[in-house]
């Protein structure tokens, strides 16, 4: 196996060798390596296939901006992640990785046929190629594209990891731990401010990690770094977070940080979270995110072995890895020269430095001469060769007037390129900070900001080390002062003396000049989305003028790297094609997250049982012990039915229904929403809120209340008891409780603040036990004190306070089943004890616990609606057959005016009706559509839908409710319900199927 390590270079720990695999092959690396550096050390450049054309791709960068080198990483125990950037993945013993988007293998990939068919995949190919015939989309195009184009495979097993999150507050948050960020943190830390310093890499230092020969205040860079790390660690007011990416910058200095805790560990400690989301509210923010190098755009710039010059320099200086044995550098910027010099000094043959600029700083040429490196000034690159790795580069001189001369071919196994540097202004851009175009540097720089924020160093276009240090120090000191911290620190920020500063000039614009047909040049701008310069030019020719449109049409910058290496190049090409300056073409908006972030980090603790709260009633435990099957109802879990041995749901519900109708059932109704409405104006408030009239309701009596929105549509309902002249006990639907209270509060606070009335949510103060059935009174009579339960004294819809089983109760004589019934409210803490007492005593009546399903069936048999199931926010009281509940003589109530709007009076409104299937055994699907003529052509005219549908054991047949246009005038008519098996017919009926005379209520 080839070895590209260079003795004595780099920061990796040579005493800690690690084994890992890539595509099943064993490789060695060192502690401190990334997967990219370790693969390069083994001579591996080919790591993946591109998204669209399946072109062989290598490692382009050495950082989080990597668009190409995406791998599947398997950390064991089900910990698999697709699309991990090899340039940030830290190698550990036993790590397993694989290439993506290739079949059957990375070196022999069938999908590469796309490369030959590239004309099919040009700009807008999604829109153009696959438009017709329509039926081809589902069957042919979509599956083929899914198979052939794509990133890694999504994991199929649940994520075994846990994720943490926390809030934090600080005076100064410093994003980026390079020269500027370190200086800022030092300064802010020394002032006494509370400081958080985060950096996405495994260690602090940024570019200093690739710059060992620079001298800072007389110390070599890495010595200075060590001392600085120690100084920061010694400050208790400074929190240093490596492996922590600031992913988003939100309003009022709220910054999201994703801290990676265990991905680099061979053995994950039990229970250790994989990542932690920090939600930081900082008084002041310093952004020191550095800069990202730009590729040059020329034919064949995507071949494995072609990489950014700065990356090659990082692999050499930080990881001790040479990226090739014979390299060529092509550049429009000084930085590639420095990379070439470092490689040459490390013994690598540098075949040539090709600089597209007409003139370069003389000291660079002199240095190249001293190292015996051939320099081609004013030359261009027009192509590369090599199937799976670059083997040669085609270069041409560019003469006066831009004429490209004859080509020369230079053999090489690595090609370094640099088109200059782009300041990382992403986070600043998240805050809607304005950007200004710097023509000299061909870069956007931060303009006016919207937050308490400073930028420093290369992230704001100040590229020299000295400038970065001093910029950072000044920003840190000023941020601490503005945060109001730093009692008396007040000294001038530290100054920095730097030796070994590198020259840093040069820019690039559009794609490089060529003597070949640019219409066939595979000159890539966006490596991850396979967008070429000619795609952007095509988009412009087809009439796209805005960069936002060009971006979406070509997909430039829309991949997971969000165009970190491609946006500015794409813009330059578009600007050239449009013949408009770059600022006039614009820049697309950067959006969070800065780098791809796991869903787990966003979910944090909110998964599994903690995804949302489960509300349980005081009687829930009894239900669980007695075999209840539960169903969720809003946030509550409710007993659905109580199956006995051998029973399915159907049998259990039939038995429960029968027990209620024939003797006695017991039901936990504690989830009912409850609001206590108290005050001298309580009745007036009720009159204004509910449709019904309340003034004449006597204390001790209940009434069904109907609540509308101001738009006239039903919002909620419930039985409301008047306990005293100034006190109402309101019940709401289970799911509507909070909404109803909020709506009432709104009116009291903002429309009728003069009313003397107070609202209190009492939902969880009361346990509610519903006893329903002909034997209900007989059961409770012996346990009740202080209430005369006789029919005359305590009729249907009565309410009274007293005692039951020795504890206080609000006893309601109400029924949602049509049977004689009571709802026993007791303070929540007594709920289960009273329930158990009554259940025990009820054995002589065969008392039967029942769940929500039986409750639904029984109420439907009686024609009682459930708001939210039989209504959907578009039904008026009249639509629902509830006109009787509207106090028509009241001058006003919420929603009243809307009831006389013309639309609300139309004859063909959908109305709630009963439905009886022609085949009594057929139970219709809830939600099924209803048509009048089953033989009409599709699309049929759908006149309504089924809202509730059950098997009624009492009737020995199915029953249903439906909303149907003009339904009440169609009584007795037949309608049709197409369902998957066949079209069913049904007859429109009234809604009360059982005991229409209400005799049982008073049995």
């Amino acid at each position: 196996m080839s070895n590209f390590r260079i003795a004595g270079k780099g920061r990796v720990n040579r005493s800690r060798q690690l084994r890992f695999t890539f595509d099943g092959v064993d490789y060695n690396g060192f502690e401190g390596d990334t997967l990219a550096s370790a693969l390069l050390a083994n001579g591996v450049h080919l790591v993946g296939r591109s998204f669209k054309y399946h072109r062989p791709r290598g490692i382009l960068t050495a950082g989080s901006e990597e668009p190409n080198a995406l791998v599947g990483s398997n950390r064991g125990n089900g910990r698999f992640e697709p699309n991990t950037r090899a340039t940030v993945l830290e190698v550990f013993e036993g790590l397993k990785t694989e290439s993506q988007n290739r079949w059957p293998s990375l070196t022999r990939d069938i999908g590469a046929v796309n490369d030959a068919l590239y004309m099919l995949f040009s700009a807008g190919f999604y829109y153009k190629t696959f438009m017709w015939p329509k039926s081809f989309w589902d069957k042919v195009y979509e599956p083929v594209i899914r198979n052939a184009a794509g990133l890694g495979k999504a994991p199929t097993a649940p994520d075994p990891d846990t994720y943490a999150s926390r809030f934090a507050h600080c005076d100064v948050l410093v994003v980026g731990g390079g020269a500027a960020g370190l200086a800022a943190a030092l300064e802010a830390g020394r002032s006494g401010a509370s400081v958080i310093l985060c950096d996405e890499q495994s260690e602090l230092g940024g570019s200093l990690l690739s710059e060992p020969s620079a001298e800072i205040n007389g110390q070599l860079a890495w010595d200075w770094l060590e001392d600085t790390n120690a100084a920061l660690a010694a400050m208790p007011n400074v929190t240093v977070l490596p492996r922590t990416t600031a992913i988003g910058y939100y309003h009022q200095n709220f910054v999201g940080l994703c801290q990676r805790l265990t991905d680099h560990l061979r053995i994950v400690p039990d229970g250790a979270p994989r990542e932690r989301m920090w939600k930081v509210r900082a008084k002041q923010v310093v952004l020191a995110q550095g800069a990202i190098e730009k590729p040059l755009v020329f034919a064949g710039n995507d071949r494995p072995g072609v990489m950014l010059a700065g990356a090659a320099r990082t692999y050499l200086n930080r990881y001790g890895v040479k990226v090739g044995n014979r390299v060529v550098a092509v550049t429009s910027h000084d930085s590639a020269w420095h990379a070439a010099f470092d490689l040459a000094k490390a013994g690598v043959e540098v075949a040539a430095i090709v600089d597209v600029r007409g003139t370069v700083p003389t000291q660079l040429v002199a240095a190249a001469d001293a190292l015996r490196i051939r320099t081609l000034i004013g030359w261009t690159v027009t192509g590369t060769k090599g199937r799976l790795r670059v083997s040669s580069v085609r270069v041409n001189p560019v003469g006066a007037g831009g004429k490209v001369g004859g080509a020369e071919t230079i053999a090489c196994d690595a090609l370094l390129m640099s088109g200059g540097w782009t300041p990382s202004i992403h986070l600043f851009s998240h805050t809607q900070g304005s950007l200004t175009w710097n023509e000299d540097g061909q870069m956007f720089l931060p303009g006016r900001g919207k937050e308490e924020c400073r930028l420093a160093g290369a992230g704001k276009g100040r590229f020299s080390l000295k400038a970065a240090f001093e910029d950072g120090a000044a920003a840190g000191a000023a941020a601490a002062a503005d945060a109001g911290s730093g009692a008396g620190f007040g000294a001038e920020p530290a100054s920095y003396h730097v030796e070994g500063e590198l020259s840093f000039t040069g820019v690039t614009g559009r794609e490089l000049p060529t003597d070949l047909d640019p219409g066939h040049a595979k000159a890539f701008v966006d490596f991850q989305n396979d967008v070429m310069a000619k795609d952007i030019r095509l988009a412009v020719r087809e009439g796209f003028k805005s960069i936002e449109h060009i971006k979406r049409y070509t997909t430039n910058g829309m991949a997971t790297d969000q165009g970190k290496t491609s946006n500015i190049n794409g813009l330059a090409v578009a600007s050239d094609a449009l013949k408009r300056p770059i600022p006039a073409v614009g820049l697309t908006t950067f959006r969070p997250p800065y780098t791809p972030t796991s869903f787990g980090t966003f979910a944090g603790y909110n998964k599994g049982a903690l995804f949302e709260v489960t509300r349980k009633t005081p009687i829930d435990g009894w239900a669980e012990e007695n075999g209840a099957v539960f169903e969720p109802v809003s946030l509550w879990r409710r007993a659905w039915y109580f199956p006995q041995v051998g029973e399915d749901m159907h049998a259990a519900v039939a038995r429960e229904c029968k027990a209620v109708r024939s003797s006695l059932g017991i039901f936990d109704a504690s989830t009912l929403g409850k609001i206590e409405i108290v005050g001298p104006d309580a009745a007036e408030f009720m009159n204004r809120m509910y449709t019904n009239a309340w003034t004449k309701l006597a204390p001790g009596r209940c009434r069904y209340g109907l609540l509308l929105g101001e738009d006239g549509f039903i919002r909620d309902d419930g039985v409301i008891g008047r306990l005293a002249q100034d006190r109402f006990h309101v019940t709401t639907t289970t799911g509507g409780a909070a909404r109803v209270l909020g709506m009432m509060e709104d009116y009291i606070q903002t429309e009728w603040p003069d009313l003397k009335v107070w609202l209190t949510s009492t939902t969880e103060q009361w346990s509610v036990i519903a006893l329903q059935g002909p034997n209900a009174r007989k059961l409770i009579e012996p346990f009740v004190e202080g209430i005369d339960l006789s029919e005359g004294a305590f009729p249907h819809m009565a309410v009274a306070t007293g005692k039951i089983c020795g504890v206080p109760t609000r006893l309601f004589r109400v029924s949602f089943t049509g049977e004689l019934g009571f709802e026993i409210n007791v303070p929540a803490r007594y709920g289960r004890a009273v329930w158990e007492k009554l259940f025990e005593a009820g054995q002589r009546f065969g008392i039967t616990p029942y769940g929500t399903e039986t409750m639904h069936v029984l109420r439907a048999e009686k024609g009682y609606i459930i708001v939210g199931q039989d209504t959907d926010g578009t039904l008026t009281p009249d639509d629902a057959g509830l006109s009787w509940a509207v106090g028509k003589t009241k001058p006003d109530f919420v929603g009243k005016r809307s009831l006389s709007r013309p639309d609300m009076l139309a004859a063909n409104r959908k109305q709630l009706v009963g439905l009886l299937t022609s085949d009594p055994k057929t139970v219709l699907e809830e939600g099924a559509q209803i048509v009048l003529d089953p033989n009409q052509p599709v699309p049929m005219d759908m006149v309504g839908h089924v809202t509730s549908s059950y098997w009624s054991a009492e009737l020995g047949r199915s029953i249903a409710f439906a909303v149907i246009q003009g339904g009440r005038s169609l009584q007795g008519k037949t309608v049709h319900v197409p369902m998957p098996d066949k079209v069913h017919s049904a007859t429109i009926a009234g809604m009360v199927f059982v005991d229409p005379e209400n005799k049982r209520l008073s049995a």
Binding site: H251, E452, R454, D471, G472, P891
Partner: protein
């Protein structure tokens, strides 16, 4: 996440404690029955939906529970001020005064002027 000042609690609290409640200063008519259908429609459904300064209602849902009003810019999301329910719509001068206090330090800072 925005920080919102509750005028009743007289404190800034994170957005998650609050619920948005629509446009402000739309009073329910004292007697809806005298309104024409069009007037009632306008009250129910027609909103200004401006780009820029918006008068709107919020509720300190998970705090004091009070509804209050706010002046917020729909482009920047920035709150100029909040005030109690029932208080009149603030004047341009009042809004300018309140937002300049909040704004004074919020321009991008050059560390080396």
């Amino acid at each position: 996440m925005l920080l919102i000042r509750c005028p009743y609690c007289e404190a800034e609290r994170p957005e998650v404690e609050f619920a948005y409640a629509g446009e402000a200063h739309i009073a329910r008519p004292a007697d809806p029955s005298v309104l024409s259908d069009d007037e009632w429609r306008d009250f129910l459904f027609i909103r200004t939906n401006p780009r820029g300064r918006h008068f709107e209602r919020w509720r300190h849902m998970h705090g004091c529970g009070r509804f209050f009003n706010a002046v917020r810019d729909t482009v920047t999301d920035k709150f100029s001020m909040t005030y109690k329910a029932g208080a009149p719509r603030p004047s341009d001068e009042e809004i300018a005064l309140a937002s300049s206090a909040a704004d004074s330090a919020a321009s991008v800072k050059d560390a080396r002027p």
